[in-house]
Amino acid sequence: MTVLKTSMRNFFAHKGRMALSAVAVILSVAFVCGTLVFSDTMNTTFDKLFAATSADVTVTSKSATDPGDRPDTGKPESMPASVVERAQKARGAESAEGAVSSESVTVVDAEKKNVGPSNGGPTIAGNWTHNDLRSMDITSGHAPRGPTDVMIDADTADKHHLEIGDELRTIAVTGDHTAKISGIATFKVTNPGAAIVYFDTPTAQRELLGATGRFTHVNVTAEKGVSDAALKRDVAGAMGADASAYQVKTQQETSDDNRESVSGFLDVMKYAMLGFAGIAFLVGIFLIINTFSMLVAQRTREIGLMRAIGSSRKQVNRSVLVEALLLGVIGSVLGVGAGVGLAVGLMQLMSGVGMELSTQDLTVKWTTPVVGMVLGIVVTVLAAYLPARRAAKVSPMAALRDAGTPADGKASALRAVIGLVLTGAGAFGLYTASQADKASDGSLLLGGGVVLTLIGFVVIGPVLASGVVRVISAVLLRWFGPVGRMAERNALRNPRRTGATGAALMIGLALVACLSVVGSSMVASATDELDKSVGADFIIQSDNGQAITPKAAKSLEQADHIAHITQYKDIKADLTAPNGKTAKEVGLSAADATYAEDLRTETVAGTLADAYKPDSMSVGEDFAKDHGLSVGDKVKLAFDHGRTGELTVRAITSSETAIDSGAMYVNITTAAKYVPADRMPPNVIMFAKAAKGQQDAAYKSLKTAMADYPQYKVMDQTDFKQTLKDQVGQMLNMVYGLLGLAIIVAILGVVNTLALSVVERTREIGLMRAIGLSRRQLRRMIRMESVVIALFGALLGLGLGMGWGATAQKLLALEGLKVLEIPWATIITVFIGSAFVGLFAALVPAFRAGRMNVLNAIATE
């Protein structure tokens, strides 16, 4: 009981000193809980949406699977109207309604601006059915009645300031249709970010399916008292002879399938964010260890007294752990609360990029606070374990010794040996990884090397601290005379503390450095590859992943000043090698022969141009090896929805390329022999080469040809490189943002160390002030110490991270990441930024040291 009491008293007596550790716990727990609440809320939103949009029973074509899985033909799979009649006749069916829905559309307004979501959400076009009334209300105007009417969802209308009477143009592979807005429909549930337009049934069929009297699915409503499952059975029975061509799903099954299609994305996001929360926790551990170590050191005399009057080691140990427990509990409780707030903030942030989520759907599962609490408490108590053990080792004699400053911790030789061994093993792992012949073999080594070098650096940090701090000080602090010298000595006096504080910063910055090296190497490699192998002057591609409609392709072909235009389609086939080995659903790149000039892929055997001869093809190096293929071999190809043919392998392409790695090329005319015209997909991308010397004119002409199609971008090589750079930059920025959390915790760690050091050095500071150190000099001394610690962490982190990045590049060189580019600008910015972080972290501790009362500091009892 007394143990608990002293722990409580200690805890609350030093609540200020605990505050920063508590903030670290709060931040980490909040991030975990925020992520969980946010992703649960997204799930709830999608669940509600899909439950509202799915009919009791839905009939779809069997081959209509997830559009992401197969080449986008631009035309949804459809079924004849007779299916509706059959479903209608099923027992238990109150009504059945044919529906049309397509996501292969782009909707533009009168100013030729895409009104579809820019964040990857779908644009959906369909016919207005009774089923839609379950999830939407027409809030103004009326439903579409004829070919000139279109209805749009209210969110999209608001976002683009669309009103009734405005013109909307819907572009699909099968049609290009302009209509006036006749009505606006509002969702009854939250629409997370799809743009939806509705037509009357004949218009939807004609424009979206390119056929009359066909539907993409049938919505069947159950009679009262008939369960969905029973209805499903009956509808399936009513399909009759060709029942195997259709899929019949209950409302639950439809929602589940829809959920499946988004859950991949949601899960990736969730786990990525949890990963970053994990890093923040890791960094927080350093902060907590440091806090308790310093508190124990400052309390040595007190602990000695407790031991002298009869406390056991166990009791001392436990008293420290109880304090940690209190910290963990308080931090976690606040963290869980902050997490819910964070989730709401994230939702607001998402609405900024067009993903609407409603706080009404805010979902806090009971597991969320439990996970947050357990994690926060366990991590805190574990982190405090080492300092607690050290406290238990304090001898009763400590009570009798002079107070003074706590003994300065020296880095032990054992530590140096362990650190060196770990770092050495890690470095060896990294080296082996960089020499691996197969990326898959090396990745495990790379992972192991990263973890080992990180741990090694953490262990050896205190040993390195003395050397590195001296070097940094020699360069930086000698300009600051005795103040600089004292700052250096202070940073050096407890290497373990400096090491741990710097290590916390090291972790975040190592990741930043590593990713920036990989990112810029990616851009540099791709740019290099583009320069070397891309012969095309222009690339035409949509910005929302949609195919180029035949009409748009035609206008491109009519552009002036062009030497050639290359079509490029993705098709699928089952391939059988001469040795009998079969590969299912292999992706083939069907292109014009000019593609061999547009992308000069290197071959390891044969000539690339030969692959475009009739009934010829090329395969990738790895595929050829796996299937025992060599030039001249004949392979059997069963084309998707087409016939089977025999093609000759004329070229084997090298796998060491970043663009089109492993692609199999076949001429479009060859593909057309086996794939029926209505099954031939539209181009996913097109290439153009300008007539000699008419680059600019060609660029202008192509742009003019695409003026009517805002979703397609005409890029010359410069544009393309820039786009690539932007994409990589955007991704890196997002990752940096998330790593920011870990870095904030590390900065808190620096503040914490300094603040506690100032308290610990009260008497020293008083002495210096007494003999004439001015407040400004004192503050500068503390700032310098902080800068040195921050730069120490930055140096270690950046060095480590660049090593990781370079290894990753060497490893990925096998996958086309051939050029190593160290982004010096970023690295140096981060390094200088760390110095400012140090200055910033020292603000409050320096201010408090400056305000310290000289007399109290030097007073002898």
Partner: protein
């Protein structure tokens, strides 16, 4: 006069809880003299020294260092004054653990950005007998050696006045005698002005003059004291204190 106090009052708190530590004190510290301030605990002797040295502020009255009035000076000026014109020797914790002996000795000049006078520094180091230990950190020195470093630091900058707060309080009698011997020598031979707070009659006997404080007032003084005479006087006070 090296330092003067005029009608100095130092009081803590207000109203009923008001405690007067210094009660309208007038003191003159003569240049080139070794002055000891004595008195029982709570007599205000440390407070007087802190005020004279510009470490503490007064409630009213004036304090002059040479002809400079230091009461009312801002912290920045006071700091400079302590740095350039005053030396300190405390009872304990005189040295920065991160600096070695010579760095500690030159610290006030380093802070000021002044170059120490090499010849003088050598002489001081020689006098306090520290040659050969200059590269040692404080933890590698004995208590007596540490105090000698502190004395050397106080002397090295050639301050107008040195204040000592029980400088030998933590030392055994031999080490204490050594330190006091140096202080005495610096006054006699170098003309240094020293003010020292102590409760040890032996320490006080090294001084030229002893001031006795009680209840925030100067109650007596004695020139050319010996340990016996100081002790006698103190017994005297004690006896009076008991009867009153």
């Amino acid at each position: 006069m090296a330092a003067r106090a005029r009608q100095v009052v130092k009081a803590y708190g207000s109203g009923e809880t008001r405690v007067v530590a210094l009660d309208e004190i007038d003191v003159d510290i003569a240049r080139g003299q070794f002055t000891a301030i004595m008195g029982p605990s709570g007599s205000g002797k440390s407070t007087l020294m802190h005020c004279l040295a510009g470490l503490d502020t007064v409630s009213s009255g004036q304090i002059y260092l040479d002809e400079t009035e230091i009461t009312g000076l801002k912290d920045k000026k006071l700091t400079q004054l302590r740095r350039d014109r005053i030396g300190f020797i405390f009872q304990a914790f005189n040295l920065l653990p991160t600096l070695n002996a010579i760095e500690n000795i030159t610290l006030p000049m380093d802070i000021a950005g002044r170059k120490p006078d090499r010849g003088w520094l050598d002489q001081v180091v020689e006098t306090v007998g520290l040659a050969g230990r200059l590269k040692h950190r404080p933890t590698e020195l004995s208590g007596g050696q540490q105090q000698r470093v502190a004395v050397a630091r106080a002397l090295a900058a050639r301050p107008e006045i040195i204040f000592g707060d029980e400088p030998t309080g933590n030392l055994d009698s031999r080490a204490g005698a050594e330190v006091l011997g140096f202080l005495r020598k610096s006054v006699t031979e170098l003309g240094q002005t020293i003010v020292m707070v102590t409760h040890d009659p032996v320490a006080a006997s090294y001084a030229d003059r002893v001031l006795y404080l009680a209840d925030g007032r100067i109650v007596d003084e004695m020139y050319s004291p010996t340990a016996e005479s100081v002790l006698d006087r103190m017994k005297d006070f004690d006896a009076r204190g008991r009867t009153s």
